[in-house]
């Protein structure tokens, strides 16, 4: 055996070299020559699954009409909890040229120096930011502007929310005589409640208990896409304001918001919060949604609700209107969420930045771009002139949402401690509902904690917005461990790196986002 050793060694070495060579060849990014002299844009987006194909179609249309630009798509689920990949990419200076940002995150990302100020680029394109602002629904534009600068452009606007009531359930309850005598004549199945007082009556009339269990409920005021979103919704409907942007002041304890929370708590007191939580926890989303199966007969939905309703309860006859408001509250109260598009601060190549701006303006503020986005992704554009709005005029349900979008006056606070604020509101609602704290004290506490957090974040950048500590030999963060290789170098050709990169039409990522990635 011994005499074969050298031969075995040679064979093993040759196999090793061959394997290494094969790896290098296969792992190389695709030859850019097939793209000629095109500028390659890396685009990170949050759409997976079937929605990805729709998004890819829209990007294909862009590259067709802009032959000098090629796009590399990468699915990155960047919601409020899962954006580490983007942060590390920015620090490693290998972020893409275009990033989709959930609306409420724009301020935080701008504050921490992750995004490019789009103002100068817009001017290069002959677009005056002031004029462009007028082309968008006001709250959509507002969530893209922080400290007087434009950091992103709205891609889609989610009108939050429409009020749905189940006409069938009310009709049956009336026909069967299930409505208590004190409410008879006050409940009209064909006409939904217009005010909070009316909604309370509708709720009390339809809610049924069997023993210690609630078997049917009118509405669960804190069950509107989470407790924090519920409080935003009712807080604004009651006429409150959550944030004073001019003074960077958190105002969760605004007396009107306290009133809203107190009203929410009235349901917890009336029906026992545990019973309602039990009813709520019985159901999930989609086909188990309590509204679709008649267990809850009034509910607020964002536009995703229309698709779900068509899919899971096509025969359910329901009315759609705007959110009821209390006396002295805000009529037709609504707010917007949705995705925006931005350019990361690490995209410094002028040609790529221009291409990125070209794409953003096409996707967000052009007839073709918004038409494709709205047709394929069913996203409502934030651009007022989008043809989508006339296209859906004949569909009463979609038109109801368009109306809500037009009237929406709010967006979540444009401030750099959004996730913390949401958690604090969530907790305040929970504590108030369970009677642990009064609504006022719960909201005082949320205000105090969030203000302290916000002050810390703002103090860090001292008024302006921060620069990022990009790891590179020239610009090094003062970090005693910075000698370790960052492992991620600036990519001259493409921002989208890694095996998950989905080039148009070639690959579908395993992970999928819900149809409306940004949530409400």
């Amino acid at each position: 055996m011994g005499k074969y050793k050298p031969i075995v060694r040679v064979i093993m070495a040759a196999a090793g070299v061959a394997a290494l060579a094969a790896f290098i060849v296969l792992a190389r990014p695709p030859d850019p020559s097939d793209r000629g002299a095109r500028t390659v844009l890396g685009i990170w987006h949050p759409w997976g699954g079937p929605t990805l194909e729709c998004f890819e179609q829209s990007v294909s249309a862009f590259t067709k009409s802009h032959p000098a630009i090629a796009c590399d798509l990468l699915y990155v689920p960047n919601d409020m909890a899962n954006n580490q990949k983007f942060y590390t990419a920015v620090i490693g200076n290998c972020a893409p040229e275009v990033i989709y940002v959930d609306g409420p995150q724009v301020a935080e990302w701008a504050e921490r120096g992750l995004l490019t100020d789009l103002g100068p680029l817009l001017k290069e394109f002959g677009r005056d930011p002031q004029e462009l602002a007028g082309e968008f629904f006001a709250p959509c534009w507002r969530q893209c502007v922080y400290k007087g600068k434009v950091w992103a452009i709205t891609y889609c606007a989610d009108p939050n929310f429409a009020f749905f009531w189940n006409k069938d359930a009310f009709r049956k309850a009336v026909a069967r005589g299930e409505i208590a005598s004190e409410y008879r004549g006050k409940v009209d199945p064909e006409k939904g409640p217009a005010t909070i007082a009316e909604m309370d009556i509708y709720n009390d009339a339809i809610t049924r208990k069997e023993g210690d269990r609630i078997v049917r409920v009118g509405i669960i005021p804190w069950g509107m896409y989470g407790r924090a979103n519920s409080l935003f919704t009712w807080g604004w409907a009651f006429g409150g304001e959550f944030y004073d942007a001019a003074h960077f002041k958190v105002t969760a304890n605004d007396p009107r918001i306290v009133m809203a929370l107190d009203w929410m708590c009235s349901y917890a007191r009336k029906y026992d919060v545990r019973s309602m939580a039990a009813l709520q926890s019985t159901f999930g989303s989609n086909e188990q949604n309590p509204f679709f199966i008649g267990r809850q007969v009034m509910q607020l939905f964002h536009i995703g609700g229309l698709d779900e309703l068509a899919r899971y309860a096509p025969n359910l006859e329901c009315g759609i209107t705007s959110i009821p408001q209390p006396q002295g509250g805000e009529k037709d109260s609504a707010w917007v969420g949705g995705w925006t598009v931005a350019i990361p601060s690490t995209a410094t190549d002028p040609a790529k930045r221009r291409a990125a701006m070209e794409y953003i303006l096409w996707a967000c503020a052009s007839t073709e771009g918004t038409r494709l986005a709205s047709r394929t992704l069913a996203a409502y554009p934030g651009w007022k002139a989008a043809p989508f709005f006339s296209e859906v005029a004949g569909n009463p349900r979609a038109a109801a949402f368009v109306e809500i979008l037009r009237k929406a006056a709010h967006q979540r606070p444009v401030m750099p401690a959004q996730a913390f604020y949401m958690d604090q509101l969530d907790r305040a609602v929970d504590r108030a509902l369970r009677g642990e704290l009064t609504p006022e004290r719960a909201l005082d506490e949320a205000t105090r904690n969030t203000q302290a957090m916000l002050d810390k974040v703002l103090a860090r950048s001292g008024g302006g917005v921060s620069g990022v500590g990009v790891w590179s030999p020239i610009c090094k963060a003062p970090d005693p461990f910075a000698g370790v290789p960052a492992g991620c170098q600036p990519d001259a050709e493409s921002g989208a790196k890694g095996s998950g990169a989905s080039r148009i039409g070639l690959q579908t990522p395993l992970l999928q986002t819900p149809l409306r990635g940004g949530g409400p």
Binding site: I91, R112, A278, T282, R431, E436, R460, G467, D479, F481
Partner: protein
């Protein structure tokens, strides 16, 4: 070994050494530094001394999360050990279909945590969950007999019952410890039992004086690992009660650490939190080591 062999040896394990240095030693060392810094991952670090630790000491949610975790650990570790031990004793009996029973009881521990958590969300549903559907008729009988008004627990919607609910779920997944106890039970020399029987020892005395001492190293191991695991309890809580609600009852230490690190971008504070947890675990382990060592019998020590 001569130096050439050393060199070759090091060369061969160099992938491990490099990986260990870059992906373990560096992050651990860096987190010590970050715990003294204001650091959000994105911007450069800024030294703040002990400010992070001072903030933690004054943070009532932090204290609450620590308390939740300690209470959970004190409850779940002995209960899971006891359950696993009882199951191991039962499954060690010479029965027909013994292997089948063992497999059945081991199965839950190989179900992915997220899948089992979602399943338990259904089981624990207060109104329509299987557990309360079984409890309700039983309680109705009790109520009828005693005139009480007992209702089934609210489990995950009632702050008082969330920890018991999670503990119940942990008890379902004790298969891993059970298998270790079974292996240890199989290792106890039969000769010892025979000698005890000749001396007229009862089954209880055999268990107490032979079985338990002989498997005590495994019990000790599972105790230590159980404490460490319970202190870091995260997955099920994250899936079932992501905000630690209702009432912060399931705001476990790791959940709060995760929120600080990845939701609020306070990596410096989260690093400080991680090191506090490390110190707590070390202290707990030392206390357990010191207090239980004399009950652990290693064959090599001689009888």
């Amino acid at each position: 070994m001569n130096s050439n062999q050393w060199k070759k040896g090091l060369l061969f394990i160099s992938p491990l050494l490099v990986g260990f240095a870059v992906f373990t030693i560096y992050p651990v060392a860096a987190s010590i530094w970050y715990s003294f810094c204001d650091y959000d991952v994105i911007r450069p670090t800024r030294f703040v001394g002990l400010a992070n630790f001072a903030e933690l000491a004054a943070d009532e949610r932090f204290i609450h999360s620590l308390w939740n975790t300690l209470a959970f650990t004190v409850l779940v570790v002995p209960l899971t050990m006891l359950t696993a031990l009882v199951l191991a004793f039962l499954l060690n009996m010479k029965l027909r279909g013994q292997a089948l029973y063992r497999t059945i009881f081991f199965l839950p521990s190989i179900v992915p945590l997220v899948a089992s958590s979602v399943l338990w969300l259904w089981l624990l549903n207060p109104d329509y969950g299987l557990i309360n559907m079984c409890l309700r008729p039983a309680l109705d009988v009790v109520n009828a007999l005693t005139g009480t008004h007992l209702t089934p627990p609210g489990w995950l919607v009632d702050p008082a019952w969330t920890k018991p609910a999670l503990i119940l779920m942990c008890l379902w997944g004790v298969g891993g410890s059970m298998i270790m106890y079974l292996a240890a039970l199989g290792d106890v020399p039969v000769a010892l039992y025979e000698a005890a029987e000749i001396d007229g020892a009862s089954a209880w005395r055999k268990t107490w004086h032979i079985t338990l001492p002989m498997i005590s190293p495994v019990l000790f191991f599972t105790l230590i690992m159980g404490i460490i695991g319970a202190m870091q309890f995260f997955d099920q809580a994250w899936v079932m009660t992501p905000n630690g609600q209702p009432g912060d009852a399931t705001l476990f230490y790791s959940l709060y650490l995760f929120a600080n690190a990845f939701l609020y971008l306070r990596m410096g504070l989260a690093s400080a939190q991680a090191w506090v947890l490390f110190v707590v675990i070390v202290i707990a382990t030392i206390v357990v080591f010191r207090s239980t060592r004399r009950f652990v019998y290693y064959g090599g020590e001689g009888i």
